[in-house]
Amino acid sequence: MSKLIENSVHCLTILKKLYLIRDLEEGIAAKYSEGKMRCPTHLSIGQEGAPAALSTLLSHQDLAVSTHRAHAHYLAKGGCPKAMLAEIYGKATGCSGGRGGSMHLIDESVGFKGSTAIVGNTIPIGVGLALSQKMRKQSNVTIVYLGDGAVEEGAFYESANFAVLQQLPVIFVCENNLYSVYTSLDKRQPKDRKIHELAQAIGLNSFSGDGNDVVSNYDIFHHAVDQTRQGKGPCFIELSTYRWREHCGPNYDNNIGYRSEDEFIAWQKKEPISRFENWLLENNLVSRSEMKSLRAEVNDLITQAFTFADKSPFPEQSTLTQHIYCETSHES
């Protein structure tokens, strides 16, 4: 029996996050061809489950960092949808003032400390955040989102090693979606070696699961966050999932030859949102009509966010040279 069944607030929060991520991403896909979102954009459609489940277990003092495919992580953590879309539109009201785009999201007010574009590049950043939490004797945790490709980077091994050595309050959440751009996992990693076993061997408390099963993910996260908060050392969670759209951009790409339509259809059957909805219905936790009104509410928010992004001003040309250096100093 899942712990989630006892927490109707979390159920609704998760459902709302799932709708928000999915429908906002679909909105981006629908509008991308307008040519107003002029930056590389990596959609999270199909991978909403894990971040939505995890989000309910974190406070704003818990921190998170993410990757090039960060929309779901940012939104799940509570990041402002308007500021995210404005950022993708390159607007002054964007969460990075139009300097970062889709791949450089930040909302420090909710503990989302940043996402960056280079594979594996925020893994040590997250471990450094956790180091500061430990040095300051805080009971918060840091979430490091990464993909299956990032565990191939030296930065992952180096960071995991230090996290274990220092017993830092960090949780690595690895969404294994089988592809690094167009290169499949079997071309990149030995067939019989599981990522979560590799992590276990480094000394991380390691877990694995079906990343499209929100309910079981919630239990894994519940346990991992609890352990890590208690100072029992860093965790690693490998979750299998699947990227529905192309690596970068709004389109489906099952026809270009690196993966098959059959594979896609098989994963579509494991789609996280409808699975979660069915579970909620089976357990009489949320009704169809409640779902419908929740989704409508979320879609109003999304519509407002797109309008906000579209109507917001571009940054002034004169701001181009600002912030190369931080001009304030510690003493001032």
Binding site: V127, S132, S159, N161, H330
Partner: protein, 362 residues
């Protein structure tokens, strides 16, 4: 902390050590780490006594330069002030992803929301067969990246005040220590570092010597060689304005321009390879902005575009020093070759050590 100040003669190493103690006493956000930081050698004694005084804020690290740099960045964006050290710059090249893609860009790409107050001490080797990968002067590489500050102090006083200001600067700072400076002695302010007659903030170049015939622009250890050259040139009736850059990114252009306007001649020295050097960039800026003041073509003396070899024999003529600097200046000012005029400027003893005290191995 006392604001009274006294002046005491100490070494460059001791000056670094004092700066680290002072920074850690000033703020609990400061921590120091690096491979060997608490080992018996204590980073050539620069971290002597530190771990005993601050056991929770001084720690050794895994041999993982890239992630450990990123971990420093992560701590810095959480509001801490990490000071990382590498016994040789060359090892830090493994960390260029974290340095260039994160440390240098974080404040800019997140629109000024979150600065990265990270200081990275990198030691530059020379001589005693340090060779191709233990003696690289890559200041130009770091200076090329917008968002980084690159410091190359040449005196103990500057080493102390500039390291302290680096730690409390809200930007990532590459702090370059030349090994041949470590044993330099100098008068250093105790207590408040600003209470020194030569105190300058990190963004200012120093006019070490005033003169009228030519400006020499130097950095780091080359400032020491230049001072010897200036003395020799004086004896030949040539007065030199010697400018120590101190910080090579961002550069104090005003001090350079003022001097060049006065002397009309400029020789720029660089301890890095000639192509793509800081010296090349300085000359470009002078030519672009102060051409009408120039009496002769600006010149540079930088390292050849050759890795440093290891062999004692091969390194004999690899580096230039006071003699070569003086000869170059003489030619520029008098338009004649200086035959044997500056032989006295050649340092006695082995060419591959900074002094007889240096017995290697690194």
């Amino acid at each position: 902390m006392s604001h009274e100040s006294s002046l005491t003669e100490i070494s460059y190493v001791e000056a670094i050590n004092q700066a680290l103690f002072s920074a850690m006493e000033t703020s609990e956000d400061v921590f120091c780490y690096g491979l060997g930081i608490d080992d018996p050698g204590r980073i050539f004694a620069t971290t002597k006594g530190l771990v005993e005084k601050f056991p929770e804020r001084v720690f050794d690290m895994p041999t993982a330069e890239n992630a450990m740099t990123g971990i420093g960045i992560g701590a810095a964006i959480a509001g801490m002030r990490p000071v990382m050290v590498h016994q040789r710059l060359d090892f830090f090249l493994l960390a260029l992803d974290q340095l260039i893609n994160n440390a240098a860009k974080w404040n800019y790409m997140f629109n000024g929301q979150r600065p990265v107050p990270l200081t990275i001490r990198l030691l530059i080797g020379r001589g005693w067969g340090q060779g191709p990968t233990h003696a690289q002067n890559l200041q130009a590489l770091f200076a090329h990246i917008p968002g980084l500050k690159v410091l190359m102090p040449s005196t103990p006083q500057d080493a102390k005040s500039m390291l302290l200001e680096s730690v409390f600067d809200n930007n990532p700072v590459i702090f370059l220590e030349h090994r041949w400076l470590h044993n330099q002695q100098g008068v250093v302010a105790q207590g408040n570092v600003k209470q020194h007659p030569d105190y300058l903030p990190i963004d200012k170049a120093r006019v070490v010597n005033t003169g009228n015939d030519i400006t020499i622009i130097a950095m780091s250890y080359l400032t020491i060689e230049s001072m010897a050259a200036v003395t020799g040139l004086n004896e030949q009736g040539i007065t030199v304005e010697l400018v120590d850059l101190r910080t090579v990114k961002p550069i104090d252009w005003q001090t350079i321009y003022s001097s060049v306007e006065k002397t009309g001649r400029v020789l720029v020295l660089d301890s890095g390879a000639t192509s793509g050097s800081i010296a090349g960039d300085i000359i470009t800026q002078i030519v672009e902005n102060k051409f009408s003041f120039l009496k002769c073509a600006p010149q540079r003396l930088a390292m050849p575009d050759i890795p440093e070899p290891t062999s004692y024999e091969l390194t004999k003529n690899y580096y230039f020093g006071a003699k070569e600097i003086a000869e170059k200046v003489h030619k520029m000012v008098k338009n004649e070759l200086a035959v044997d005029l500056y032989q006295d400027l050649v340092r006695s003893g082995h060419h591959d050590v900074p002094g007889t005290y240096f017995k290697g191995p690194f």
